[in-house]
Amino acid sequence: MATQNTRKLARAMLTPSVVILFVWMIVPLVLTLWYSFQSYNLLNPVNNGWAGFSNYYYFLTDPSFTEAFVNTLVLTISVLAITVIGGIFLALLLDQHIVGQGIVRILVISPFFIMPTVAALVWKNMLMDPNYGIFAWLATRLGFAPIAWLQDYPLFSIILIVAWQWLPFATLIIFTALQSLDEERKEAASMDGAGAINLFFYIVLPHLARAITVVILIETIFLLGVFAEILVTTGGGPGFASTNIAYLVYHQALLDYDVGGASAGGVVAVILANIVAFFLVRIVGKNLDA
């Protein structure tokens, strides 16, 4: 069926996407690399020139980098843990015979559609505000002193906000996978005398493996780049307590106007993401062989 002509046509149809994506990948990346070896500050245009590895040296040896690196890991792994474990429980719950399941599902999925700046500001003000927020009110009702969440536990607060946004996503994906699990297989297993716990670990969880892998992949892509939530709540502070690598690079670029330093940071971020991607894409690629 594939004649010479259709093959040519097929290639012509594919080319624009590939070329555009390739250019979008390569040109900025090469420029970032180039700038990362330049001393180039928008505020100090005179002092330009080749900088060697000094941008990298300053970026990597600055204590803020270590802190941001650790924060990135903590943020990503915590949110992954909360959303995957919570998502499994919620999906199992939604899979029961419950009244009004459709509406419950809509309520659960909704936070995923809230834009990051709205989510973060609503949590920061109306929920977490130590004077008038809902959490402060709950704390006083329970006899505790209200907590200044974003001042005292900035990273934890951001983890809560981001987990709230992504828990629905994990739930929805895992729930969808759960629904394709054969009811008969579950029944057969329970007739063989398998208890609920065994049923979960030997039948349900293996069935969900693929969905969970995908959830981890997709969430990691987005979680490594969490930005708006930090920008509008803590601004990365106090100090660098809630700064992740994405925010650190932004800070150097658009607040300090240090093009060279920010580019070095950008390259470091790309390398770190690629290490993660190397493993993740491999796993997903294997899973997608269908």
């Binding site: 900025p28 559609f113 609503v122 509008v232």
Partner: protein
């Protein structure tokens, strides 16, 4: 589904599920309720659940003070614009890979997926400088292009998984009947491809509407979409909760409704077809 469920079990799970769902939904509900309160009622302590004095004033003031609908319009333009532009580029690509796959098709798809792993901060500096020198900073056109680019891989993937399900045999049949290529496409394939394209559009509009890295970094007063406009409420002097809530309610409402209707497509699109 035929399993007999004891009513007790059913009702206890129902209650539990509703409690969890309402807790998760609460911040949204609270935002909507607060948008109808006066500023004074918004910061009552203990909080008043329902607005003691219902008012629409916040919506009016948000518009009067900051030309809200300009930003709303910006969001509409960039999310629909980037989606349509993206479709023009990705539909042929996905079509080609689904119907004339080669040995390299899978590699190309994996490569496209891997480009999504590139962190935005890795290219923030050059994009910012390029935009600056081309006068594209704070322009709807520039932002539309960027949003199209970042969602390109997801669009190709999603369309590909839909197109691949169209049975190719049907082509052979129509060819037997003597249909020419363009007729084949218009009368046979296109009707079967429409649902996939529509789903891809919806998901892409959602993603573009909520995108909050490039929209925040590349816009100022002029082209700021809602994500960036709402961010301006983070300054301490902007802490008017009722107005923040009004602005937020309008910003999330359209996407919330679209999202509710496209849960299935969302699962498929966001998992690159791996979970259906």
């Amino acid at each position: 589904m035929a399993r007999a469920v004891s009513p007790r079990r059913k009702w206890s799970f129902t209650v539990l599920a509703w409690i969890v769902a309402l807790l998760l939904f609460f911040p949204i509900l609270w935002t909507i309720l607060t948008s109808f309160k006066t500023e004074g009622d918004a910061i009552l302590f203990p909080p008043a659940f329902l607005p003691p004095h219902w008012t629409l004033e916040n919506f009016v003031e948000v518009q009067d003070r900051s030309n809200y609908f300009k930003h709303f319009f910006n969001s509409v333009v960039i999310s629909i614009g980037s989606t349509l532009l993206g479709l023009v580029i990705t539909v042929p690509a996905a079509w080609s890979m689904a119907f004339s796959p080669t040995k390299r098709t899978k590699d190309i798809l994996m490569w496209m997926l891997s480009t999504k792993m590139m962190p935005a901060v890795g290219v923030l500096v050059p994009i910012y400088l390029i935009f600056k020198s081309l006068n594209l900073l704070d322009s709807l056109f520039g932002l539309t292009i960027i949003l199209m680019l970042i969602n390109l891989p997801i669009m190709v993937w999603m369309l590909y998984t839909y197109f691949r399900e169209i049975p190719v045999d049907i082509l052979e049949a129509s060819r037997m009947d003597g249909a020419v290529l363009w007729k084949e496409i218009v009368y046979v394939l296109l009707p079967m491809a429409i649902p996939g394209i529509a789903s891809t559009m919806l998901l892409n509009i959602i993603l573009a509407w909520n995108e909050a890295f490039w929209t925040l970094n590349l816009t100022a007063a002029n082209a700021a979409p809602l994500t960036a406009f709402i961010a301006s409420y983070s300054s301490p002097e902007g802490l008017f909760w009722a107005k923040l809530s009004a602005a937020s309610t309008l910003a999330i409402a359209p996407i919330l409704v679209i999202g509710w209707f496209s849960q299935k497509q969302l699962v498929r699109g966001m998992t690159f077809g791996a979970v259906k």
